[in-house]
C-alpha cells in the first residue's frame, strides 16, 4: 500500500517557515481518520500551508482513494509558499495550486459554499498583542490574546465558503478555549466537535472537525 501521508524527510522548511510539528501531525492523523469512503470532495483548501506537509498529505490521501479534486493551499508568507512548492515537487504531487493571501479573502466570492474540505492549523500560541505585528516566523505561531487573534478573524469566513456537505478541520489548543470556538461557529449554524485530543510539549492539542448543521442532520449523519 502506498504511504498516505507526506514524508517529513521530503518536506521543506527553513528558519522562516513553520517546521512540521506535533500539531501538524495531529491534524494529518485526524484527516486520515476521516471516512474517505463516503466522501468525494470537489474542492479542498488549506489556509496557512507552511511547509506544505499537511496539504501534501491530503493530496496523497485523495489519490490513494482515487479521488480528483481542485486542491488549493494559501499562506500569507512567500517563504512558506516556496517551501510548500518544494515539498509538493519532492513528493511528485502536481495538482495543488498555491495562492499568497490573507485567510480566505480573495476566495470568498467565488467559493461561496463550495469548499468540501477546509483545513487550518492557525497561529494559536497566546502572545502579547504586539507580537502580532511581526512579519517574521512569529507570524506562524503568534496568536495574541488567548491565541485567538487570527482564529477569530478566520471563524466568520468559514460559513462563507464551507459547502453543505463540507468539513472544516482546525487545530486548537485548550488555551484557545475550543468550546467557545465551537459555540461561535454554532451561531453560524456550523456544528462541530473535538475529533482528536493530544498532549504535546507544553500544550494540549484539540483538533476540531466542523460541518454545516441543517443539511447533515436532515440526512441523519450525525
Amino acid at each position: 500500500m502506498k504511504p498516505s501521508v507526506a514524508d517529513v524527510r521530503l518536506t521543506s522548511y527553513n528558519k522562516d517557515v513553520y517546521e512540521p510539528s506535533d500539531d501538524s501531525f495531529a491534524l494529518v492523523d485526524a484527516l486520515q481518520q476521516h471516512d474517505w469512503t463516503s466522501f468525494s470532495p470537489d474542492v479542498c483548501l488549506e489556509v496557512g500551508c507552511g511547509s506544505g506537509y499537511v496539504i501534501c498529505s491530503v493530496a496523497k490521501m485523495l489519490s490513494q482513494h482515487g479521488l480528483r479534486a481542485q486542491v488549493l493551499a494559501s499562506d500569507i508568507s512567500s517563504a512558506a509558499l516556496e517551501a510548500t512548492q518544494e515539498t509538493l515537487v519532492a513528493h511528485g504531487v502536481a495538482d495543488v495550486e498555491l495562492i499568497q493571501g490573507d485567510l480566505l479573502k480573495p476566495l470568498i466570492p467565488r467559493f461561496q459554499h463550495q469548499v468540501d474540505l477546509l483545513i487550518f492549523n492557525p497561529p494559536y500560541v497566546p502572545t502579547p498583542d504586539d507580537e502580532l505585528t511581526r512579519t517574521d516566523i512569529a507570524r506562524a505561531w503568534a496568536g495574541g490574546n488567548r491565541g485567538r487573534a487570527i482564529i477569530d478573524k478566520f471563524l466568520p469566513q468559514v460559513k462563507e465558503v464551507l459547502s453543505p456537505r463540507g468539513f472544516m478541520y482546525m487545530v486548537t489548543v485548550t488555551d484557545n478555549r475550543p468550546e467557545d470556538i465551537l459555540q461561535l461557529l454554532s451561531n453560524d449554524d456550523i456544528e462541530g466537535k473535538v475529533i482528536l485530543e493530544r498532549a504535546a510539549d507544553e500544550e494540549a492539542l484539540r483538533i476540531l472537525c466542523c460541518w454545516r448543521r441543517h443539511e447533515r442532520d436532515a440526512e441523519g449523519h450525525h
Binding site: Q70, L72, E97, L98, I99, Q100, P106, P109, R110
Partner: protein
C-alpha cells in the same frame, strides 16, 4: 497558476464592486501535461464562470473555446473536451500579473503563485 484557479479569484480591495474576473497580463506562460479526465471536466463545469475562462484562455493562447457550451458537447464532443481540458488545467501562468478590472491594481504572479495580499490602505 492554472486558469481553473484564476476562475476562482476576485479582487477584494475595500469598496471594489466589480473585482471579477482578473485580467491576465502574461509574461511567461508554461504548458504542463495534466491527466485527461472528462468526468472531472463535466463535474467542474457547473462551478465555472465560462466567459471568464474563455477570455482568459484567449489571452493564454487557447483561442478555441466556444461562446456557448451545451450538454451534448460536455457529454461527447471529444474535440471540445480536449480544448477545455487544455485551457483549464494545462496552461500555467508562471510570471505576470492579475489586473483588477475595476481599479487596474496589479497583483503580481511570481513562480506560478499569485500574490493577492492587499496594502494597508486597501483593506
Amino acid at each position: 497558476m492554472k486558469l481553473l484557479t484564476h476562475n476562482m479569484l476576485s479582487c477584494h480591495i475595500k469598496g471594489v464592486k466589480n473585482g471579477y474576473p482578473f485580467k491576465i497580463d502574461p509574461v511567461k506562460i508554461e504548458e504542463m501535461d495534466a491527466d485527461y479526465d472528462p468526468d472531472f471536466l463535466r463535474h467542474i463545469y457547473p462551478r465555472l464562470e465560462w466567459p471568464a475562462l474563455r477570455e482568459a484562455a484567449q489571452v493564454m493562447g487557447e483561442p478555441n473555446l466556444p461562446e456557448e457550451v451545451t450538454e451534448s458537447m460536455l457529454q461527447n464532443d471529444e474535440e471540445f473536451l480536449r480544448h477545455f481540458h487544455h485551457a483549464l488545467l494545462e496552461l500555467i501562468l508562471e510570471e505576470g500579473a492579475l489586473v483588477c478590472p475595476e481599479t487596474g491594481r496589479r497583483f503580481p504572479v511570481h513562480k506560478g503563485v499569485p500574490n493577492l495580499l492587499l496594502h494597508e490602505d486597501e483593506v
